[in-house]
C-alpha cells in the first residue's frame, strides 16, 4: 500500500483526488439540476393545495353569480330539486355548527384530561398500554364509526332513550360534583378560624350535597322521561364525532404538555404544590396555546367529517327548535355534499351542482383558516418555550 502511494505523481493526484475544472463544473451543474428536480417534487403539496383551491373555486363561482350570496347564508329554505330551486343553507350551517360544538364538548375535557394523565400521572408501563388504544381509536375508519352509530347506537337511543341519557349523565356528573363539593366546602371553611372551621365545612358540605343530590335527581327524572323519536340525531352524531376527534386532541395536547420543561414542574413541586395543583396552575397555563391548537385541530376533524354525520345525524335540513335541542335530526355541510352530488352530477352545470361546490368552498376556507391559526399558535408557543 505504502509503496503505491509513494509512486503517485502530481498528475495522478490532480486526476484522482482533486477534480479537474471540467469535472467540478459537471458536478456543480448536476447538483443544481438535482436540486431543481428535488424542489419541483417537493412542491407537489403546494401544487396540490393550489389545484384544490382552484378547482373548488372555479365550480363555486357560477353559484354565487347565479344565485347570489344572500339567500345562501340567511335563508333556511333548502329545496334544490324544485322547479324554482331555493338554496337557503342556513339550517345546514347551523347543523354543522351544532354537531361540532357537541363533539367539542365530548372530546375536549376528556382529551385534555387523558393527555395530562398520559404525560404526568400514569407510570411508563401503563402509557405503553394506553398509547395503542388511542392509535386504534384513530385508525378505525370513519365509515365504521358511522356504521356503529347507525346500526348499534341509534336503535339503542331510540329504545332506551331517556334511560341511557340519565345513566350517562350520572356517570359524568357524580364524580365531578363530589370533587366540586369538596373544593367548595373547603373554600367556605377557609374563611373561618379555629373550631368553627370544621363545623362550617361539614355543614356546608352536607347542605351542598343535599342540593346537588336533589338537582341530580330532578335532572335524572327529566332525562329519563325524554322520548327520543329518532335515534339518528344531533346527539348521536356529536357523541360519535367526539370519540373520533379524541385521538387528535389527546396527541396534540400531550405534545404540548410534554414540551413544558422539567424545570417548571420541579419548581412547582419544590414549592410544595401537589401534583393536581402543579398540573392545573403551572402546566396547563404553560401549555395553554398548544392545548388551544389541539382544540382547533379537533374542531377541524369534526367539521370535515362526512360519513359519521351522513349516517347518524338524520339529514333533515331544519334548524332545531329550540336551537340547542340535540335530540332533533340535523344536516351538515359535508353530508349535504355527499348526499346530493349523486343526484346532481349528471346535470353538471346546474345550480344544484354548483351550490355543493360553494359549500365545499366554505368548508375549505374554514379548514384553511383554522389550520393557519393553529399553526401560528403552535409556532409562537414553541418559540416562547424554546427561548
Amino acid at each position: 500500500m505504502n509503496d503505491r502511494i509513494l509512486e503517485l505523481t502530481d498528475k495522478d493526484i490532480r486526476n484522482r483526488l482533486l477534480m479537474s475544472k471540467g469535472t467540478q463544473r459537471h458536478r456543480r451543474l448536476g447538483a443544481l439540476a438535482g436540486n431543481a428536480v428535488l424542489i419541483t417534487i417537493a412542491s407537489s403539496s403546494l401544487v396540490a393545495l393550489l389545484f384544490i383551491f382552484y378547482f373548488i373555486i372555479r365550480d363555486a363561482i357560477p353559484f354565487f353569480q347565479l344565485e347570489g350570496i344572500g339567500e345562501f347564508l340567511t335563508s333556511s329554505r333548502w329545496y334544490p330539486s324544485r322547479e324554482e330551486a331555493e338554496f337557503g343553507a342556513l339550517a345546514i350551517f347551523v347543523g354543522s355548527a351544532l354537531v361540532t360544538v357537541g363533539a367539542v364538548i365530548v372530546a375536549v375535557p376528556m382529551g385534555v384530561l387523558a393527555a395530562l394523565c398520559l404525560s404526568d400521572i400514569l407510570p411508563f408501563s401503563m402509557r405503553q398500554v394506553v398509547k395503542p388504544v388511542i392509535e386504534m381509536l384513530a385508525a378505525v375508519p370513519s365509515v365504521v364509526y358511522g356504521f356503529f352509530a347507525l346500526v348499534v347506537f341509534a336503535p339503542l337511543l331510540q329504545e332506551k332513550g331517556g334511560g341511557l341519557l340519565s345513566v350517562g349523565a350520572l356517570i359524568v356528573l357524580v364524580p365531578i360534583s363530589i370533587v366540586g363539593i369538596g373544593v367548595a366546602s373547603d373554600l367556605i371553611g377557609a374563611r373561618f378560624r379555629g373550631g368553627a372551621r370544621g363545623i362550617v365545612r361539614v355543614t356546608s358540605a352536607v347542605i351542598m350535597t343535599v342540593i346537588v343530590a336533589i338537582a341530580l335527581f330532578l335532572l335524572n327524572r327529566f332525562l329519563g322521561d325524554l322520548k327520543i323519536v329518532s335515534g339518528t340525531n344531533a346527539l348521536n352524531a356529536s357523541i360519535i364525532l367526539g370519540i373520533m376527534a379524541l385521538p387528535t386532541v389527546v396527541s396534540v395536547s400531550e405534545d404540548a404538555i410534554n414540551a413544558v420543561g422539567r424545570e417548571l414542574r420541579e419548581g412547582s413541586y419544590a414549592l410544595g404544590a401537589t401534583r393536581a395543583e402543579t398540573l392545573l396552575r403551572v402546566i396547563i397555563p404553560a401549555a395553554k396555546s398548544g392545548i388551544i391548537a389541539a382544540v382547533i385541530l379537533g374542531v377541524m376533524r369534526a367539521i370535515g367529517e362526512t360519513m359519521v354525520v351522513w349516517m347518524a345525524s338524520g339529514n333533515a335540513a331544519r334548524i332545531p327548535q329550540p336551537i340547542f335541542n340535540y335530540l332533533e335530526p340535523i344536516r351538515t355541510l359535508t353530508a349535504t355534499i355527499a348526499g346530493d352530488m349523486g343526484e346532481a352530477d349528471h346535470v353538471t352545470g346546474s345550480g344544484r351542482y354548483h351550490v355543493l361546490f360553494a359549500m365545499a368552498f366554505c368548508l375549505l376556507v374554514i379548514a384553511f383558516v383554522s389550520n393557519l391559526i393553529s399553526e401560528m399558535i403552535l409556532r409562537r408557543s414553541k418559540r416562547k418555550l424554546g427561548g
Partner: protein, 448 residues
C-alpha cells in the same frame, strides 16, 4: 386550603384523569365488540338445508348425494305444512264469499311469508331472483321469520298521551277454528326438522363474489376494489412523499419557501375528505377526463392527494430519527451528500418510512368520502388490473355505507354488512399493529 383537602383533591384529580382514559378504552371496546361478535357471524353461522342446496346449485360445492338425502328428509317434514295449506285453500273455496273475504288477505300474507321461509312451494317454477328460489339460508334469520309468522305486530294507541306501544298478537288467533290453525303449532315445533340447521364455517365469504345484490355470496369484488384503490394511492403518494420528506429533512434550511411548504403540507392534511372527493370529481373526471366517468385510477389519484401529508410527515420524522453520526461518518469517508442520502440515510430510515407507508395504506383503505364521486359503485364484478384504468369498482368502505342505508332489505343482510365492517377493521388494525411492532423494533435498535 387545608393539607388534607389538597391531598384529597390531588387524589380525586388523578382518579378523574384515569377515569377519562378508562372511558376512552371502554368506548373502543364498546365499538369493537359488536363488530367482532356479529362480524364473525358472517363467517361462522348455522346454515339451513336451503344454504346447502344453494351452495350445490350455484357454486357447485358440497356432496350431492348427502344434500339430496337431506332435502328429501326436509321435504317429508314440510309436507304436513303444505297439506294443511291445501286443505285450507279447499275450505276457502267451499266456504262461501263471506268466509273468503274474511280470510283472503290474511291468508295470502301468510302464504307469502311461508314461501319466504321455506322457499317456493312444490310444483311452482323457478322464480327469476335467486333470493326467491330458496328459503332462509341462515338459521338465525329463519327464526326471526318464524317469529313474524307466529305473531302479528300491532300498535296500541289507546293512551292518547303516549306514542303507540308495540303489541304482539298470535297470528293463530286470526285463523281461529279453521283447518289451518294447527299449522302454527306445527311450524313452531318442527322448524328444526324442516330446515336441518348445522354449524358451518364460510371462509369463502372473503373470496366469493356476491349474488343477487349481496343476498348471497361474499365480498371479493369489494376487497379487491379496496386493495386497488389503496395500493394505487400509495403508488403515487409514496415516491412524492419520500422525496419531499428527504428534501425537507436534508436539503432545506429554514427559509421562507420551506416554511411555506410546511404550511401547505399541514393545510393539505386539514382539508376535509369530502372536499378531496369534489376536487377529484372536478379535476380528474370533469376536466382531465382520464376515463369515461368514475374509475379506480381517479379514486387512487384523489386518495394519493389525501395521504400525501401523512406520508411526508412520517417519512420526515423517520429520516430525522437517523442519528447524525451516521451522516457525519459517511461524509468523512468522502461520500457526497447525494451518495450519503442514498446509501446511508435512506437504508437506516427505511423501517420508519415503511411504518409511515403502512399507516397511510390503512388510512387510504378506510376512506370513503373521496371515492364516492370518483371511484365507487354499489355493485360490480372483480376487476382485472388493467381495467382499473377505466372502470369503477365497489370498495369495502363505500359498500358498508351503501348496504347499511340504501339496500332494499337492510335487515336481511345485516350479517354481510357486519362481515364487511369486520374485514375492513381487521385489515386496518392489522396494518397498524404491524406499524406498531416495526416502530417498537426501531426504538429498541436505536436505543442500543
Amino acid at each position: 386550603m387545608e393539607l388534607k383537602t389538597r391531598k384529597m383533591l390531588d387524589r380525586s384529580f388523578t382518579t378523574i384523569g384515569i377515569f377519562a382514559i378508562l372511558l376512552m378504552a371502554v368506548s373502543l371496546v364498546i365499538l369493537l365488540q359488536p363488530i367482532i361478535w356479529r362480524g364473525a357471524g358472517a363467517f361462522i353461522f348455522r346454515e339451513t338445508i336451503e344454504n346447502r342446496k344453494l351452495n350445490l346449485e350455484i357454486f357447485g360445492r358440497g356432496n350431492r348425494a348427502n344434500v339430496e338425502v337431506q332435502v328429501t328428509e326436509a321435504e317429508a317434514a314440510r309436507k304436513p305444512v303444505y297439506d294443511m295449506m291445501a286443505e285450507f285453500e279447499r275450505e276457502m273455496e267451499e266456504g262461501g264469499p263471506s268466509f273468503r273475504r274474511q280470510y283472503r288477505s290474511e291468508y295470502s300474507e301468510l302464504r307469502d311469508m311461508i314461501s319466504e321461509l321455506l322457499g317456493p312451494f312444490p310444483g311452482e317454477g323457478d322464480p327469476v331472483l335467486i333470493r326467491d328460489r330458496y328459503g332462509h339460508t341462515r338459521w338465525d334469520r329463519a327464526n326471526v321469520k318464524l317469529h313474524r309468522i307466529l305473531f302479528v305486530e300491532e300498535y296500541d294507541y289507546s293512551d292518547p298521551n303516549r306514542m303507540g306501544v308495540k303489541v304482539e298478537k298470535p297470528r293463530a288467533d286470526l285463523f281461529e277454528s279453521t283447518s289451518i290453525e294447527p299449522l302454527f303449532g306445527y311450524l313452531e315445533e318442527n322448524l328444526e326438522r324442516m330446515m336441518l340447521p348445522s354449524v358451518t364455517f364460510y371462509w369463502r365469504f372473503l373470496f366469493d363474489r356476491s349474488y343477487d345484490a349481496h343476498f348471497f355470496g361474499g365480498i371479493w369484488p369489494e376487497m379487491l376494489g379496496t386493495f386497488y384503490l389503496a395500493l394505487g394511492a400509495m403508488l403515487f403518494a409514496v415516491p412524492l412523499g419520500i422525496v419531499t420528506a428527504m428534501y425537507l429533512a436534508e436539503y432545506a434550511g429554514e427559509g421562507r419557501f420551506v416554511s411555506l411548504l410546511r404550511t401547505c403540507i399541514s393545510s393539505l392534511a386539514g382539508v376535509p375528505s369530502i372536499v378531496f372527493g369534489l376536487f377529484g370529481l372536478a379535476f380528474f373526471i370533469n376536466t382531465m377526463k382520464i376515463a369515461n366517468g368514475k374509475s379506480v385510477l381517479a379514486g387512487s389519484l384523489t386518495l394519493a392527494f389525501l395521504v400525501l401529508p401523512t406520508v411526508i410527515r412520517a417519512s420526515e420524522e423517520a429520516i430525522l430519527a437517523v442519528p447524525r453520526t451516521y451522516k457525519e461518518a459517511s461524509m468523512s469517508l468522502g461520500a457526497g451528500k447525494w451518495h450519503t442520502i442514498i446509501s446511508v440515510i435512506l437504508p437506516a430510515a427505511l423501517p420508519g418510512i415503511l411504518t409511515s407507508i403502512i399507516i397511510s395504506l390503512g388510512r387510504a383503505a378506510g376512506e370513503t368520502a373521496p371515492i364516492i364521486f370518483t371511484a365507487a359503485v354499489s355493485v360490480g364484478r372483480p376487476l382485472a388490473i388493467w381495467q382499473t384504468l377505466s372502470q369503477p369498482s365497489p370498495a369495502l368502505s363505500w359498500n358498508i355505507y351503501n348496504l347499511a342505508t340504501e339496500h332494499e332489505a337492510v335487515d336481511e343482510i345485516r350479517h354481510v354488512q357486519y362481515g364487511m365492517v369486520l374485514t375492513l377493521v381487521a385489515m386496518v388494525l392489522l396494518l397498524n399493529l404491524a406499524a406498531i411492532i416495526i416502530r417498537a423494533r426501531i426504538s429498541r435498535k436505536l436505543r442500543g
